[in-house]
């Protein structure tokens, strides 16, 4: 294949991926406003555009499929065909097929697809052989089916007329700001270089001392470096909107399968978050929202009996909280009964009968591996995988998960995740003449060791009296294999894991500073208690320790 042809194809696929996302949004809106001509036109243009460009770059399969879909959309546009749930399903099926093809071609430009069934479905729709699929609707489809249609649908975003329209418009308006596409590699390289620049700047600042004419210039340089760093870091930040968009589809499909009615409310779509964080967040979000539909929201008849609106409500809210991204997934469903969780966990052997758990701890049981409260394994969820993955994913990003619930009123799952994983606040410490970094977030407090408060039980690690607590105290020196002698350190960091506290003895605290986190090198990637590396102000690499991992199991 010629280079320019290859480039054309790749460009097309990149662009098509963007088009698909926009199209999905329009499809979902159309489902709630089946007569909205603006939306129909938009979708028609999407299909038309896709057909033309895919044929031009030589993707005949996509062109053939899209061509037929275009015919269907034309019929809808010309009002020869009325949209109903069956037709919407065909349209979604078509969209999924096109997505499958585009992703497939992205992986392999020569890929061949089987899309005959999709063609058949569209043909059937064209000839009016597709019927409504709404199971909640008892009466047979009638000619004039709009009013009921509107009701029987799950409606995503209940105030669509207010909310949806501005989004489409503002989307177009925002695009007038000029943008260019840049490869992520370039941005990462830039970030690394800027990281170096900042380190070098601190070196120079240290060399220059605190007086003299140079100092002022160096300070200004420092400020400038900081600004450049902030800017280059912000290049990796993306709005959470597109990730949210996928949830609409999840809610639509899940609630349809379960015959539930759910309104999804998305708030804070413009909230920005680091690209890597965003990627790691997508799966947990899908799990949580799917779970809220499956386990949270009740069936329509149950809701009516409980004096609730027929449609359940799930709200997904994103906002910045300091250096963290907060995500709240709230439903107004049946809530979680902590005692039921407890019994289930005892039954499954996750906890013991005599274990005394706080309410929060009982809620946390839903994240235990192999825990699922649904007695029946459903198509949607209930295999007990997923929720534990959510927690692991979030914690691996340095985040936390909290659960709040009120029986009969609903549940809320709250995630708190660092905005970026690339820079952390770190404490520079010294052990046996060597410098290490400990994330500030792991340090509860720093204590000066008072020999009178230390006690040693025979054959065990010493313990230390910390006010009204007695905590084990470890020697980092000994455990890093730097010094075999057992002696009490002068200073200790107090670290918390779950509800347990422990103290880690070190030689000295150097200072607190921002740390650019680099991955561990391959050779030390399995080192216990190490979470990354960094370059310090003197240009030397240093290991970032994870004290929770190092001591969490034995503390």
């Amino acid at each position: 294949m010629e280079d320019f042809e290859l480039e054309l194809k790749k460009d097309f696929l990149d662009e098509a991926k963007g088009l698909l996302e926009t199209a999905e949004k329009s499809f979902l809106q159309l489902e709630n406003n089946p007569t909205n001509e603006v939306l129909i036109n938009e979708i028609f243009r999407f299909a038309h555009n896709l057909k033309g460009t895919s044929r031009a770059v030589g993707f005949g399969q996509i062109a053939e499929l899209t061509h037929l879909a275009e015919n269907l959309l034309l019929k809808i546009k010309e009002k020869e065909l009325i949209i109903h749930s069956g037709i919407m399903d065909v349209l979604f099926y078509f969209l999924d097929k096109v997505r499958e093809m585009i992703l497939g071609l992205d992986a392999n430009l020569e890929a061949i697809f089987d899309y005959q069934d999709c063609l058949n479905k569209i043909e059937a729709a064209l000839s009016g052989k597709i019927e409504k699929t709404d199971k909640t609707q008892e009466n047979k489809p009638s000619e004039d089916s709009f009013p009921e249609e509107e009701e029987s649908k799950i409606s995503l975003v209940k105030e669509p007329s207010k909310k949806v329209k501005p989004t489409t418009n503002s989307g177009a308006a925002a695009n007038t700001e000029e943008t260019i596409r840049v490869s992520l590699k370039k941005i990462e390289d830039l970030n690394n270089l800027v990281g170096e620049l900042v380190i070098l700047q601190t070196e120079v600042e240290a060399l220059a001392g605190t007086s003299g004419k140079e100092t002022r210039s160096i300070r200004s340089l420092g400020k400038l470096c900081k600004e450049i760093q902030d800017l280059s870091m912000s290049l990796r930040m993306l709005p959470i909107g597109p990730t949210f968009q996928k949830l609409q589809r999840i809610v639509r499909d899940t609630s349809k399968t379960l015959e539930k009615k759910v309104d999804l409310l998305l708030k804070g779509e413009e909230t920005e978050v680091d690209k890597t964080v965003l990627e790691n967040l997508a799966d947990p979000l899908v799990h949580l929202v799917r779970n809220a539909v499956d386990h949270g929201v009740e069936l329509p008849q149950e809701r009516l009996l409980a004096n609730k609106s027929e449609n359940g409500k799930i709200e997904v809210l994103a906002f910045h909280q300091g250096n963290f991204l907060a995500l709240h997934i709230t439903d107004d469903g049946k809530g979680i009964d902590p005692q039921v969780l407890r019994q289930k966990a005892i039954h499954k052997g996750i906890i013991k009968e005599e274990d005394n758990l706080t309410e929060e701890a009982m809620y946390q049981l839903i994240f235990a591996p192999g825990f699922s409260t649904k007695d029946q394994v459903s198509e949607v969820s209930g295999r007990g995988v997923g929720m534990d993955v959510v927690k692991t994913n979030v914690e691996s990003m340095g985040g936390q998960v909290r659960v709040q619930s009120k029986l009969g009123v609903g549940s809320s799952i709250e995630l708190l995740i660092p905005l970026t994983m690339a820079i952390i606040e770190g404490m520079l410490i010294e052990v046996s003449g060597k410098q290490f970094v400990v994330p500030q977030s792991q340090i509860q407090e720093v204590i000066k060791i008072d020999l009178a408060q230390a006690e040693k039980f025979s054959g065990k690690n010493p313990y230390y009296k910390l006010r009204d607590l007695v905590v084990p105290i470890f020697s980092l020196k000994r455990d890093l294999g730097l010094d075999k002698r057992v002696q009490l350190p002068p200073i200790a960091l107090v670290v918390k894991k779950g509800k347990k506290f422990f103290a880690v003895g070190i030689d000295d605290l150097i200072k607190q500073q921002q740390i650019v986190v680099r991955p561990l090198t391959f050779e030390i990637s399995h080192m216990k208690g190490a979470m990354g590396t960094t370059i310090l102000g003197d240009g030397l690499p240093s290991v970032i320790l994870d004290l929770v991992e190092l001591y969490g199991d034995i503390a």
């Binding site: 060597k434 090198t521 391959f522 050779e523 030390i524 080192m527 290991v543």
Partner: protein, 144 residues
């Protein structure tokens, strides 16, 4: 090796008086031994981490890695680090000295004699015969 003569370029280096060579294409660069940060609880052949213009790399002692003990008491005069390309990562290997670049025609490369093969020989590609000596051709994976 085919009959058509091909030339390969190697970098020759020494470990405990022995001559070794690595294909130049597999080398990112050669530097003098920089300051290293020791890694706690690391295996004995891992010397530490270095900062190669912002890239953090592990540095290993190639003598220890290859279990060359003989003559190892001899003073290491001029420690150099060869930065090997290993797929998508790099690793620094300390060698005793860098000798020179060899231009070798394919017909002066000979297979390793079977009787001298052992488990590490998978990383030995062949023996390069020069005018006055034999040089062992090693793959960069020897440092992995």
């Amino acid at each position: 090796m085919e009959n058509t003569q091909q030339f390969l370029r190697f970098l020759e280096f020494k470990l405990a008086e022995e001559s070794y060579a690595v294909e130049i294409l597999k080398i990112r660069e050669v530097i003098t031994l920089p300051a290293l940060t020791e890694i706690p609880n690391a295996p004995p052949h891992v010397c530490g981490l270095m900062n190669l213009r912002g890239l953090i790399l592990t540095v290993i002692d190639l003598r220890k890695k290859m279990k060359i003990t003989e003559n190892s008491q001899k003073e290491k005069e001029e420690n150099a680090v060869i930065v090997f390309e290993l797929g998508d990562r790099q690793v620094g290997a300390i060698v005793d000295s860098i000798e020179k670049v060899l231009n070798v025609s394919s017909d002066s490369i000979h297979p390793i004699p079977e009787e001298s093969q052992h488990k590490d020989s998978v990383h030995f590609k062949g023996v390069i015969k020069t005018e006055d000596r034999l040089v062992l051709w090693v793959l960069p994976e020897i440092a992995a």
